[in-house]
Subunit: 576 residues, 2 copies
């Protein structure tokens, strides 16, 4: 295994051995540790001292099911703290197969040139690629596919990343070489843009399988684990059938679907944007209801969504995206929402951040709630980089300041996902306390708050939420290091035999004798590294709070507020 | 003495007795203490929990020379910390004469209506004034003059304050009832705008002179002090003759005049925008070279600047304004700069913040450096509230993020004034450490660094700068509480008999036996209150640093960097 260090200042790539202390780290565990070790927490996130670290999970590239997540880490220009953003797509497996533990991208070019990084079995090299500047992710990936062939995966930025906008994402190619998977959160596309790196091409042709110490043990554990994923009603039922959008009706029913910029919890047109409706339209138009974002995924929650004429429109069309442009922006035309999703993918912006931003802009009077043409136009402005587009592309907090909006749903300046913290209180605890800024995946309390996974906790009450969020955050940090998709968590939470299978795979691969406790300790050590970085970056307890209106404005239909004290929130991630 | 509490939520004004602990506080000392006592440091600066506190200095309204400063305090939407911004103009004296210690403005109206507050000898009342919404400060003050008469002074916000933009100022009327004096820094106009308060009218008709315990002693001290001010070469010579713009040639000569967005320290066209040139044009066009911003000022550094046709164009045309739009934006046409000053006054934005912002926008490619039409257009956009105007009106930090600019000269998100911290290092120490964000007045080290006032300290070296900044910050906090203009400091620093005269005036007025040490202790206690607020608002040591490029990019012509360590900066305001 090796680490590639890519220096844009000197335009050279060096290969390094992996430090012993990094040998059992992967994904988020590795990106967060390298960022803590190498990046000055006080640095300008878009300056030459920040670094972008790309790391596949520990199991990515093996036959472990649904293990194709890639983590990207950096100091976030959006939050000012540490960020790990992970994504599916096909790149993690190829990086893993190439024996690359991490790619560390540092420095800023002395000229205005943009570059691409080409990685294959023979090494890694930088090349100028100014001809791609200004191009969207779809066009860029089409060109890359033509030039480098279908054995390659791509990581690219769109115009938003080039403009260094704080909502900019890094697109990851899906099995069809389309830019539908994203490291969306925290503006990591802007960090890549600040380094003038437009694209990374990863070609795993000619590689041999990843060495596994005990192949039989690994194969058995992987097979058992795949069955457990398929046997669980969420990962084996709801997700493959309806995609993540299955949650629209569920959250709406629960009164926790933030509607009209988090004004209330039910959208009267939820049925028009539900997972059921999406699946129906996909079937009618000859798309694909079930689709894997990377080979070897058994959950296959993605889809191919075609337009009215049966032509491909988008893929990776997620619940949070549909919610953000739908209920939260009061748009009920699912085809418009699909087009907005595609435009985000093409421009290279996070759909959660931008969907929230559109709703904030609507509240600020820039356009009306529900204005489909207006919303499409705002996305087009981001692509163009007009002044209005620069505002929108910098996210919800920025747009709220531009237009004097009081209700701006951000924590650490990152916009909240699709679960109101007053109606799904465990989720609110995660938003407040995760080192990542408002993030649902960091501790997905929707499980027992709403889905009945891992028992039942009343989403409207405080009881049990602090401990739930803490435990989920620890487990998630560990899972985010393995390469497994977070959606394996449903089975892991409900089936006591699932976690041992993950441990078996790790032990079989690396010749170890880890236990379940080691996994917990790994999660804790990752969180501690991230909290240490944030403290050194100037974060205080105040950064672990929700905006004041969540404590004051009652949220219909349950008329609850977010009522955790500062002391309660501060207890969640207090480690010795 | 009384305090008026103006509640915009309930639309009522109540009169309160002054607490004993506030009795010897005025100006900045009082605003900062009330903000610390009453405002939750974690609150949304533009939300209902922030308060706007207006307090004249302790001596404002008396015959003490040059004592007409008014302080306005709040949590700043620009910096996120405490803010005191003081200004000349005629309002402080009238508030003082009315026996008002402070006006505390709190709450936010339930409706969209805008209000005005009318204060006279009979009390204070709120009235709807929606007809003024959208109007510039010039038009607003003209209307108020017509309605309320020339005995009144005004405090108003322009469109920028209504839009709640972070560079929004509060305009204070000058003796000609024009909006040429401003509480400019820190976006306090946005706080006033968030409370939907468009104007404050202060009428002191019918008041009796402020009670003075020992009138003879007061009169003598005031007279002696006035002579000292007039005898000093800066306050009695350079400032009355050339205004503050006398500094253009001096800083340019010293290589400390930030040019082209702080790229280097000399502007080859400095002569075209110098105080000497300004005075010459004023003479030619029948303006006034010497002009007081309030009755009783013996320094009279203001002026009336007419256009080419001899018609009034602007007043209060300061060095920092001329520098920001001039050298820093590479504009050498002084008439354009005067027009930009007027547009800032009319729109209600801080010239230092906006001048810096224009330069940052130029660096970001929005317009070219030196583009006069472009700069005028950007100001017009702020008045209109277009998306581009919203970006510019939110200041340099915001604009830097919008356009991906690396070199953005801010501390605590507030833009730096007209002295480069690498070439006037004492000033850099003040920028970094004052609780106010980059602010020259908070500890004006230009005195001994450049002007030879209070001895001589090499501006390019570190020696003596930490202690100098500390002492100046303490003295300034005290002076800002008296109502005296900071320009009395030149005499106070150079003439050991001057401070005792200030102490005599305070003792004579309030029947006290203060000493010089008490003044120092007052300054320290104010700084401690401000630092306490900022710590509770989440500020850490990292907020007391300059942007990283000041440590790394050498500054011509002296090719110096800012080289104070964190520990050195942290020592400046360390009190027991």
């Amino acid at each position: 295994m090796k680490i590639y260090r890519v220096n844009l200042d000197e335009l050279k790539v060096t290969e390094e051995l992996v430090k012993d202390t990094y040998s059992l780290l992967g994904g988020r565990g590795l990106t967060s540790q390298i960022i803590l070790d190498e990046v000055d927490p006080a640095c300008d996130a878009l300056g030459k001292h920040n670094k972008l670290v790309i790391a596949p999970g520990l199991l990515s590239g093996t036959s472990a099911p649904s293990s194709g997540r890639v983590s990207v880490g950096a100091k976030s220009p959006l939050t000012g703290g540490i960020k790990e953003s992970n994504s599916g797509g096909t790149v993690a497996q190829k990086i893993g197969k190439l024996g690359i533990k991490a790619i560390v991208i540092e420095g800023i070019p002395k000229s205005d040139d943009f570059y691409k990084l080409v990685v294959d079995k023979d090494g890694a090299k930088l090349e100028v690629c100014n001809d791609f500047v200004g191009k969207g992710n779809y066009e860029t990936m089409e060109s890359l596919l033509e030039e480098y062939g279908k054995h390659c995966s791509f990581m690219t930025i769109g115009p938003a990343g080039e403009f260094k906008l704080q909502a900019a994402s890094i697109a990851i190619s899906d099995p069809d070489h389309r830019p539908t998977r994203h490291c969306g959160r925290g503006g990591l596309g802007a960090v890549m843009g600040s380094k003038q790196l437009k694209a990374i091409i990863v070609n795993d042709e000619g590689t041999t399988p990843i060495p596994i110490h005990d192949k039989d043990k690994f194969r058995k554990a992987a097979k058992d684990f795949a069955k457990m994923l398929m046997d669980h009603p969420v990962s084996g039922g709801g997700l493959p059938k309806y995609g993540t959008a299955v949650l629209v009706n569920i959250l709406n029913e629960a009164g926790g679907l933030p509607t009209k910029n988090f004004e209330s919890g039910r959208f009267d047109k939820a049925g028009m944007i539900s997972g059921e409706t999406v699946s129906e339209k996909i079937e009618e138009r000859g798309g694909k209801v079930t689709h894997a974002c990377h080979p070897g995924c058994v959950i296959q929650c993605s889809q191919i969504y075609n337009d009215k004429d049966g032509n491909y429109l988008t893929s990776g069309f997620e619940y949070e995206t549909i919610w953000a442009f739908g209920a939260n922006s009061m748009i009920s035309d699912i085809d418009v929402i699909a087009m907005l999703d595609r435009m985000c993918d093409d421009t290279g912006v996070d759909t959660i951040e931008i969907g929230n931003t559109i709703a904030v802009a609507m509240e600020g009077g820039v356009i009306e709630f529900g204005d489909t043409k207006g919303a499409l136009n705002l996305l087009a402005e981001v692509f163009k980089g007009s002044p209005l587009g620069r505002i929108i592309g910098n996210g919800a907090g920025f747009t709220g300041k531009a237009f004097g909006v009081r209700r701006v749903p951000v924590v650490k300046n990152q916009a909240m996902p699709a679960y109101d913290p007053r109606a799904v209180k465990g989720q609110g605890v995660t938003y407040a306390t995760t080192p990542m800024g408002a993030d649902h995946t960091a501790g997905y309390a929707v499980t027992s708050n709403i889905l009945g996974v891992g028992g039942t906790i009343d989403p409207l009450k405080k009881e049990g939420q602090l401990e739930l969020s803490r435990n989920l955050q620890i487990a998630t940090a560990a899972i985010d290091s393995t390469g497994f998709c977070l959606f394996v968590a449903f089975a892991v939470i409900d089936n006591p035999e699932a976690l041992p299978k993950i441990v078996d795979m790790l032990n079989a691969m690396f010749n170890l004798e880890l236990t379940g406790d080691d996994v917990t300790n790994l999660g804790i050590s990752i969180l501690k590294a991230e909290l240490e970085f944030n403290a050194k970056a100037g974060f205080t307890k105040l950064d672990d709070r929700l905006p004041e209106y969540f404590y004051e404005d009652e949220f219909a239909p349950h008329n609850t507020t977010f009522d955790f004290t500062g002391g309660e929130l501060d207890s969640v991630l207090k480690f010795d």
